[in-house]
Symmetry: C2
Subunit: 520 residues, 2 copies
């Protein structure tokens, strides 16, 4: 059974472009050959929400004939625990990000688990141009054809979609006075934070998890992303069961060796590939299926594994991007540091990659040229070519890749080649700000929680310090990418339980303040 890896363009990763320009090698992108939707998540889906569609306008900000076109926007809704319109019970809305909304919904257990406590209606809105929310008659061939149609895929249009849909939904439910709290992770977290800032009349607060709203326009160092990946492999986290304690605790272990082996792997692969018979050696070492191999494709395949494992280094087994064991970084480093495996570095790297690509143990070989897109994330490449210019490509001495600089010109050229479009690299900070955020928002805005886990490579672009009493940063040193939003498990460590309790507490405060203001 052959398996690939979740592709790199995933989750606003535009690494393919970065690697092209830094490593000067041509890359292709592997992708998993199966959907990581477990049978349990399928049952969540069928039980926990209904699927609905809303007739959405194509362009909120102009009034051309084209702008009046409509499309069907999908949203998922769960009334199960809602206290109802008469009681002005709250509405929790997930501001969908760059993929199929069912996938994000199934990975946002926090909302389901807290709905009973808050008596909240749950709504998960799909982002335009993703999943089943496709403009131009739902026809992807048309919608994705070129910039004339893709041009309507933008963050500002998505936010206006959410405002429009929420207002209309509340009217239809006779629930105009029900307070709305928005939630989102990653790009969805950016949207949640921006939504609260731009539409305070629609949402009373936002939980923005792992939202790198400062990873634009040189606010955050271009080296931060890959440095964090490097640091994750230098100091991994694992569960520690003590003979003397009654409970469990987590522990941090150092492994300079693990980091160095990974950092050296890129050169090793290139050197090996250049030797006579080298590609065959690589193919055998990494169990690559017979169809396609190149040094570039292998580098991409391997870097995908390391980066996404760092991003999703969750404390319990998970199945977000790929099925993974608890603390997968630790598992990778264990494979790399294994003394019994001798000096065969390629074999050790394969064992590490196996943690990401083959935790089930069912794969016998891997495809490097698998181009499938199980979560419907492909159109992020359009967003990364227009407004979402996050300069994550640089590597300094701490980076997981050889030293390199973020190459804007390379990105622009790739975008010109792929879409015939020019990026607008300053647009996000023009529209949403980011520079001097402490000064700007100190006396402006309220009710946003910025959660960040410091093991998450994106965390460098997050808000890591409180801005004001009600613009709050929750920072989990041992946390990964929006770990707080995931379904809880009995094995969750104390720091994670604590972060979620704090989030619940803060949201309770927003709501009681709202009800107090309404009655006074």
């Amino acid at each position: 059974m052959a398996m690939g890896g979740t592709r790199l363009r995933l989750l606003f990763l535009t690494l393919q472009l970065l690697l092209i320009s830094s490593a000067k090698i041509t890359l292709r992108f592997p992708s998993p050959a199966f959907r990581p939707e477990s049978s349990s998540s399928v049952s969540i889906k069928s039980k926990l929400y209904e699927t609905k569609y809303y007739t959405q306008i194509l362009d909120h900000f102009t009034f051309t004939p084209q702008s009046y076109q409509t499309f069907q926007q999908r949203y998922l809704i769960s009334y199960k625990h809602w206290g109802g319109a008469k009681k002005n019970a709250p509405i929790f809305v997930y501001t969908g990000n760059e993929g199929d909304i069912e996938w994000f919904t199934q990975n946002t257990g926090f909302m389901f688990e807290n709905a009973p406590h808050f008596k909240a209606l749950l709504v998960f809105i799909e982002h335009r141009f993703y999943g089943k929310s496709i403009p131009f008659g739902g026809n992807k061939d048309v919608a994705y054809a070129n910039s004339s149609t893709l041009g309507y895929l933008s963050s500002t249009q998505a936010l206006a979609d959410y405002a429009t849909l929420i207002i209309d939904l509340k009217k239809n439910l006779s629930a105009v006075d029900s307070p709305v709290v928005v939630f989102g992770g990653s790009y969805g977290g950016m949207l949640a934070a921006w939504f609260r800032l731009k539409y305070p009349h629609v949402a009373i607060g936002a939980l923005a998890s792992s939202a790198p709203i400062l990873y634009f326009d040189n606010i955050t160092s271009e080296y931060s992303f890959h440095s964090t990946v490097g640091n994750d492999f230098r100091a991994f986290v694992h569960m520690h069961v003590s003979l003397f304690d009654t409970g469990k605790c987590w522990r941090r272990s150092e492994s300079e060796n693990c980091y160095k082996v990974i950092k050296g792997s890129w050169q090793l692969i290139e050197d090996t590939a250049e030797q006579s018979g080298g590609l065959d050696t690589l193919r055998k070492s990494f169990r690559i299926c017979k169809n396609y191999i190149s040094a570039g494709a292998l580098v991409s395949w391997l870097s995908t594994a390391f980066i996404y494992t760092a991003m999703t280094d969750y404390p319990t087994p998970s199945n977000f991007l790929n099925p993974l064991p608890a603390y997968p970084v630790k598992q990778m480093c264990k494979a790399i540091d294994d003394r019994k495996a001798g000096n065969n570095t390629l074999e050790k790297l394969y064992s590490a990659a196996n943690v990401y690509y083959n935790s089930t143990g069912r794969a016998t070989c891997f495809n490097l040229n698998d181009d499938s897109d199980p979560h419907g994330l492909d159109e992020w490449s359009w967003q990364a070519c227009t407004e979402m210019i996050l300069p994550i490509g640089g590597n300094n001495a701490d980076g997981i890749f050889p030293p390199s600089e973020w190459d804007y010109a390379g990105r622009a050229q790739s975008c010109e080649d792929a879409f015939g479009v020019q990026p607008r690299p300053n647009w996000i900070t023009t529209e949403f700000g980011g520079h001097n955020i402490q000064r700007v928002l100190k006396r402006f805005g309220s009710n946003i929680i910025f959660f960040n886990g410091l093991r998450d490579p994106w965390s460098g672009g997050g808000v890591l310090k409180d801005i004001s009493k009600s613009l709050v940063a929750i920072v989990a040193k041992e946390g990964a990418h929006h770990v707080d939003l995931r379904f809880s498990t009995p094995e969750d460590p104390e720091w994670l339980k604590h972060a979620r309790r704090r989030e619940v507490k803060i949201i309770e405060n927003w709501l009681s303040q709202y009800y107090h203001s309404s009655s006074s």
Copy 2:
């Protein structure tokens, strides 16, 4: 010398549509035959600012090929009193409204007069599609041709224009840390308030003068506008020189008669027109030139005079819409109440209209079908057909017109006929809010002054109560439309001086808070 009257579509007045649907008569719109730009304002223009152009993008919110088109956006700039980039001296920006920016600039003396005190750079940005800021190659024939091009005329695009231009200008001046305060009156005041709410990272505060941001979506009564006009003619204001006081003071006088005569005039005109030779009687009474007359045109011409005189009932002689004496409402009522003039009501109404149309005394007859547009305001009719759906058309018992209801269907049909476009009546509140503004902004946002004069028919849609410590309402009972922004005169009453002093004080506080935050 023939003169007409400033046309009714002026200053987001869409009265033509309202009157069409309520009075069921066809109206045409007169307009002045000269530009009310006095020789003194020409000298202001040539001395006080330079004219510049900025290459602006056509559509900020999409990435279609069309969206990348650019146009030349005009702005006026005065460095005269600027303290300079090195000192982070402030930048005062006027967010231009629906007309030629020179005209608004010349009527915004407040910024010129306070520039020396604040050492402020002054910038007045023209709104897209007005004046000389015309997309599509600056060609009005193309830009105004139909909804495919006019579609890019919208408030959100205008706000994004301002953000883009200001950020770029600051970069070019090496003044990225200079704080920006925005100013605007009327629709420009709405834009100023919304700009602070949507772009807090660009402007530290806003003075929004006579900005009816609540005149949307039934937040404010549809009767408010015409009731205020009626009340203005019931109780006019004038200067009172007391023999016993050393100074001057203003006084309010009642005149139920003045209001009743005006309110009865519409029927009187219709009745007269229906009599044999009636139109000739009307022509003679109102000194209408030989070319065109109808009851509808005369009603429009006369209502223009009453409404705009109420709106601009300034305490000193002015030349905003037309040249007017101080307290022009009083002058009109004086004519109507004049006992010496006997019982000839038409003659009295003519004398009142003469205050608005002929304060110079140079006109010998008036054109009703003058269609010129001296301030370049015509495209407001597009905005009033798309997003700016201000339901000002109703008349209750207090209204200046016969009882009538605001007729949305009539508006929509007119817009369909004129432009083939459907209004989006809920869009403004979706994008900018307005409902429950006290609750929504009580703990969100800061640093906006909402000035309103209660004699201004628009004031009913303004923010008339403080929302929080830094979202402040300044209400001048005797004030008219953005009177605070006008050049001061030695004759200004104390309430006006007081309002301006308060505004200056508040802006000083914003700036000192900003400098304090920057240094800490």
